[in-house]
């Protein structure tokens, strides 16, 4: 019985250690800090060499859940990936959960939505539909072309990001973007406590800074952890599919499709294709819809109650 218990302890400790070691290779998490007093309570852990060691509990400290990514790595992108998004217009009913999740996670206020949900009608007699737009993460990004200081850049994984520590605020990218996707921080951004002091990270796009441009970033911090962008997971209707073209798969969290099949079967298209910007965001036409267009016109409250 005693052996049983110690084995469980051993396993748990081992897991903790490997996690801790994997997450912070530079500095051992067990280095006692000067102002920390030993509590006397010991924890058994598995060392890197495979030995069981005892460490005072007070010396354990939480490590960040992600290894920090250097600025150079952020500019290069995640190797071997080519991210794409598929937005299924037949499923959207203007709930704007994507928008609120995005705004919340990036500390963006509601006047500068990175995700906009447009009420579209292509011609007088054609049907109206709801069209969420993110940044298109173009393969020929007009914004990157015109940036005079390389503050906005295209990565090898297809993502277009902004370095807010580099941006000079000339707003040429905003004039160049045909998708009106870029917003400007005209005033000091209103940020939750502690966020403003953080160092800017182009993968989280947080914190936004006054006098610089912001936009949808495809949440590369999430994809690094193998998770989906906030808008994708926030949408209750599974409108957004996200994935890697190299793997040829996209998912909205509950359904996964082969990207090429999905776009082929449902006649996917991209916005303003004739401009030659080659977006990474594909749209599936609003046919066989899950909701009536009018459902999206209703106020948000009943819609929320329903879901």
């Amino acid at each position: 019985m005693n052996g049983e218990k110690s084995r469980r302890e051993f396993l748990a400790a081992g897991l903790l250690t490997t996690l801790a070691v994997a997450c912070n290779s530079k500095k051992s998490p067990f280095t006692p800090e000067e102002d920390v007093k030993a509590s006397g309570e010991k924890v058994k852990l598995l060392s890197v060499d495979g030995e069981i060691i005892e460490v005072d509990k007070a010396f354990l400290k939480p490590v960040p859940h992600m290894p920090s990514v250097s600025n150079d790595e952020i500019r290069k992108g995640i190797p071997g990936k080519k991210f794409a998004m598929v937005i299924d217009l037949s499923r959207c009913k203007n709930l704007k959960k994507c928008q609120s999740a995005c705004n919340h996670m990036h500390n963006v206020h509601s006047e500068q939505n990175w995700i906009k949900v447009y009420e579209m009608q292509d011609a007088d007699k054609t049907a109206p539909y709801w069209q969420p737009t993110t940044c298109m993460h173009c393969d020929e990004p007009p914004c990157v072309k015109v940036c005079p200081v390389g503050a906005t850049f295209k990565r090898q994984d297809g993502i277009v990001l902004i370095d807010s520590d580099r941006c000079i605020g000339c707003r040429f990218c905003m004039a160049a973007c045909p998708y009106s996707t870029r917003v400007f921080n005209w005033e000091e951004p209103i940020l939750p406590e502690g966020v403003a002091e953080q160092e800017y990270n182009a993968e989280t796009s947080v914190p936004q800074k006054r006098g610089t441009v912001g936009k949808c970033d495809f949440c590369p911090d999430m994809t690094r952890m193998g998770m989906l962008p906030h808008c994708v997971s926030a949408c209750p209707n599974g409108v957004f599919f996200f994935g890697d073209i190299n793997e040829d798969s996209v998912t909205n969290g509950s359904e996964t499709f082969r990207f090429s099949d999905l776009v082929k079967d449902k006649a996917g298209y991209r916005l303003l294709e004739d401009l030659g910007t080659k977006p990474s965001v594909y749209y599936l036409p609003p046919v066989n819809r899950n909701f009536k267009f009018e459902d999206g016109l209703k106020k948000e409250e009943p819609a929320e109650k329903k879901s």
């Binding site: 949900v117 009420e119 737009t133 072309k145 941006c167 707003r171 040429f172 905003m174 009106s180 005033e187």
Partner: protein, 442 residues
Amino acid sequence: MNNVENTKKFTPEKIISDLLPQQFGRRGVIWTGILLAICCIGAFAYIQQLRKGLVVTNMGDYVSWGIYISNFVFFVAISLVGSLITAIFRLADVPWRTPLTRISEIIAVSAITFAALIIIVDMGRPERMLFLFTHGRLQSPIMWDVIVISTYFCTSLLLLYITLLPDIKIMIGAKEKMSTTPFYKLYKWLGNFWKGTERQEKIRDKSITILCITIIPVAFCIHTVTSWLFATTYRPGWDSTNFGAYFVSGAFLVGAGGVVVAMYVFRKVYKLEHYITERHFDKMGKILVLLALLYLYFNVNEYLVPAFKMKKDEEAHLVGLFTGEFAPLFWFAIIVGMIIPIIILVFKKGRKPNAMFVAGVMVVVGAWFKRYLIVTPTLLHPFLPKYDAPAKYSHYFPSWQEWAITAGSLAGVLLIITFFARVFPIISIYKTITDHESELPS
């Protein structure tokens, strides 16, 4: 030769005493005071903008470029005149250019200075301006603009300075008149080395020729590249292969208009009727009417061709200009900025100083609003509808801070010209003397 038919033959002494810079009169002091006050208000507004951010402007995520940028385009445009009058007229050996060259050069230098300043005002992060040099990307049209505008500034300044050298010598020589001025030391510092020897004259002549030849392509570049800031985007109203020529022709028009206004004012204030004669006005009037017709031609191209097709994306933009929100301003710019001046100037009577002054003011004012019409309406008509953004972003009217800063920059340009005319002769004394000498029967 009948170069200066209206001008009596003057002795060099008379010319020098007529053209030497004069102290401000009462009017001059009031004028300078008003300009300084406007500049101060502009500076005050800019300090507010620095503290609060660009939120003090009424720009938004759609109209992300407002009157700062249209004012910038205006300054770049008007500065082109330096190359027109000085370089093109010199290379074409236009004999009556003498009293106009320095006026046009100082307009060029002061306008291009404020063009650069107003761009800094428009930046969200002016303190990062040096990133343009440390992290500059040559692919960006903004970098092209930085390069050509600084080149044009240097070339114009050099041209102004080198043509000034013999006049500085004359001013240093006119000791009894000039040594009392506080600028005497400045003259010595600027031009003491200039003795006017044959060798120096030769170098000077050659430098001016080289500068005149180089400044023409640079001048075409500054405004062509400025037009490309717009034409390299996809937006309706900007997406035009015509834009470079359209901008350059408009720039020559507003520049020539500016020179007409300036020559009228200087002639009145400094009593230069014998130097800037009615004949000069007549000649400039003919040039102005030609340039106005040229610009009108490009406008017809720019609006009639897309209006004929009325592509969906262009339609909202064009209708807004022709009959919509911007129609009053649009027709003002076309009629007052081009058509009425053309009508005034095609008649010989219209090419008299007073009528020319009115036409010149019309051209300049029309041109300022024309730049506004080029920048703003396009931004209000993006490809995707204006949606999910604050309602205030769907319209644009500049805030008082924007007006104040813009007015301050315009006043700043006038202030530089005013101070320049206070310190240096606004008409080249040396060239006027040599012109008069060559007139005399030998």
